[in-house]
């Protein structure tokens, strides 16, 4: 059960952080053209194609005692960010970034800048206009983005293995636990955890496609 709770906690915090980071990034990408935009987009999309082990390897170096992660960890007296929950969180955020940025970017492109500008001319401030116009209009995009980000983090294996190792209660997520159980030939336990993960993923994808249908006008994915 520890592994399941840890996984859900990781997925939840990753999603929250991702939404916060991806919102300005996706808006910027949706409404600006600039030299080298394709470069930025390619970098964000990299985790889609990169083997998780490769990403995990670079992250391990970066988070380790000699990387920037180690430097930051020293601020509160740790030696490294690797093999810790915070390290895992950073890894997940980078790994799932394209799954959150892309639906938001598509959503913002479809909405366009106009509703925001119209709201401004009707005396709505920036904050007001985002709260009352853009967020409601982009709700389907946010649902897609959050579900995809969450589901993708749930299924993460390679990156976690590389930077998190397998510390029960700290970095042992469900996919790694299943791997360990299969290695130890505990098929019964592996069955239970796999079924839980399968059910969760299926439920979430059903939710996306159901909402997508009902709001196809504001369009998503």
């Amino acid at each position: 059960m520890d592994a399941l709770l840890l996984t859900l906690k990781l997925a939840f915090f990753s999603t929250v952080i991702l939404i916060i980071i991806a919102t300005p990034l996706a808006w910027f990408l949706a409404h600006n053209t600039f030299k080298g935009k394709f470069l930025l987009e390619a970098i964000i999309a990299l985790p889609l194609v990169l083997p998780p082990t490769v990403l995990g390897f670079y992250l391990l170096i970066a988070l380790g005692p000699n990387g920037p992660g180690g430097f930051i960890a020293q601020l509160w007296g740790d030696r490294t960010l690797a093999f810790s929950f915070s390290g895992l969180l950073i890894g997940s955020v980078i790994y799932s970034l394209p799954f959150v940025v892309q639906p938001l970017q598509n959503g913002f492109s479809l909405i366009g800048k106009k509703p925001l500008e119209v709201a401004y001319t009707l005396n709505a401030s920036f904050k007001d206009a985002w709260r009352t116009i853009i967020f409601p209009l982009a709700k389907p995009a946010y649902i897609s983005a959050a579900t995809l980000g969450f589901a993708h983090t749930l299924g993460e294996f390679g990156v976690v293995l590389m930077i998190g190792g397998n510390i029960p209660g700290e970095t042992q997520v469900i996919s790694i636990k299943i791997f360990e159980q299969v290695e130890a030939l505990q098929y019964q336990d592996a069955h239970v955890l796999s079924a839980i993960l399968l059910g969760l993923s299926f439920l979430m994808l059903t939710a996306i496609y159901a909402t997508r249908k009902s709001v196809s006008k504001t369009g998503m994915l």
Partner: protein, 385 residues
């Protein structure tokens, strides 16, 4: 009210320069005219605060003088703080809100009161539409809602950016009737942008032209429409093939006719007979008794007369079905590209255009300064501001 625009906007290779004062003696309509793609929308966006040009934009009202933009002092008032509201070509209603919620959005962020709300909804006939989703509305209805939303945000200046451009003919007439009432009924000064000459003739008190020269768009000083129409050197001359006459001493007679004077000559405008031809005409408004009354009360009327609604005769016909005949002298003869002749008549101190065929031109043997009678088939009335 006075809007000072002294700025330039650069966007890539496009450049827009403005150095003008727009003055509203009383709430009236200034039309900004220029061909498509010349930068009309950019000008509006600068005024609203959606673009960031270099220079000065300031608003004077009574004795208040407010800078909306002053590049030298690094000040640029945010769009939502400027007392300007814009109605866009494609209504731009918020699709996740219904009609009432769209209106409330503006109402809740302005100083309008409950009376304004009721009045606006009744005047624009929106009561039955309040609970509709915006996707259910026709183009004309949606633009009416957009207009109401703009009015309810209580701006000091209302900007309309080609509000009729994407409407069909019938909806155009319908929405136009409401736009005509903005100045009078809501005391709103209006800046109206269009590239449609008929809309200019119908609405404009003053016209601001945009010209481009070497890929640089220059905003011209506003001029009264009536001046422009009589200026042979102006690109508008003969373009709309319509003339505008100012009539005085309007009286609503018992016989249902509207009597008025053009110079010393009497015109009788039979309400039911007012022509429904041409895009600038609006038969609906005049068959409506309350509107007619307010038109007549103004005492001064603007008559918009299409050149092909005016025929010419050498003598005054006594047995014609045409009620209105004005006497004048030929002041200009011009052959149009379609082979017709455009004759300008001087009627007292005003000018009237008539379009006749080449055959009629030869048959009547028209010469300069010859006295002629103009028979007018159709007139569109407008309140004169």
């Amino acid at each position: 009210m006075n809007l000072e625009l002294t700025f330039s906007l650069k966007k890539g290779r496009f450049q827009l320069n403005a150095n003008i004062q727009i003055h509203w003696q009383q709430p009236s309509t200034h039309v900004i005219f220029g061909k498509s793609g010349i930068g009309k929308s950019h000008l509006l966006r600068c005024i609203c605060g959606l673009e960031n040009p270099t220079g000065v934009i300031s608003w004077h009202e009574d004795h208040n003088h407010v800078h909306w933009l002053d590049s030298e002092r690094r000040m640029n008032m945010a769009c939502h703080l400027r007392p300007v509201t814009m109605v866009f070509q494609d209504n731009q209603l918020f699709s996740h809100l219904n009609v009432e919620e769209n209106l409330r959005f503006a109402f809740d962020r302005a100083t309008a009161n409950e009376h304004d709300w009721q009045h606006c909804i009744d005047a624009l006939k929106l009561r039955d539409l309040l609970s509709h989703q915006v996707q259910q509305l026709s183009g004309g209805q949606a633009q009416r809602v957009a207009l109401a939303r703009a009015i309810l945000s209580k701006p000091k200046l209302l900007i309309l950016d080609e509000p009729l451009a994407s409407l069909d003919w019938q909806s155009k007439q319908d929405v136009m009737d409401y736009i005509k009432r903005l100045n009078h009924e809501w005391q709103l000064p209006v800046l109206y942008v269009t590239h449609d000459i008929h809309e200019v003739l119908t609405l404009a008190d003053q016209v601001i032209m945009l010209h481009d020269k070497n890929a640089m768009t220059q905003v011209q000083t506003p001029r009264p429409l009536i001046d422009i129409l009589q200026d042979e050197n102006h690109p508008f001359y003969g373009l709309g093939k319509s003339s505008i006459l100012i009539a005085h001493n309007t009286q609503h007679q018992q016989d249902g006719l509207l009597h008025c004077q053009v110079g010393e000559q009497l015109m009788r405008l039979p309400i039911a007979q007012i022509s429904d031809k041409g895009a600038s005409l609006s038969s609906k408004e005049h068959t409506h008794p309350t509107n007619l009354k307010t038109v007549a009360e103004e005492n001064k009327l603007r008559l918009c007369i299409a050149a092909n609604d005016v025929s010419l005769a050498l003598s005054e016909a006594k047995d014609s079905s045409i009620v209105n005949t004005l006497q004048g002298k030929v002041s200009r003869i011009e052959q149009t590209t379609s082979g017709q002749y455009l004759i300008q008549l001087k009627v007292d101190d005003q000018y009237l255009l008539s379009e006749i065929s080449a055959y009629s031109f030869k048959r009547l043997n028209i010469e300069m300064w010859q006295p002629l009678f103009a028979q007018i088939k159709g007139v569109a009335l407008q309140r004169c501001r």
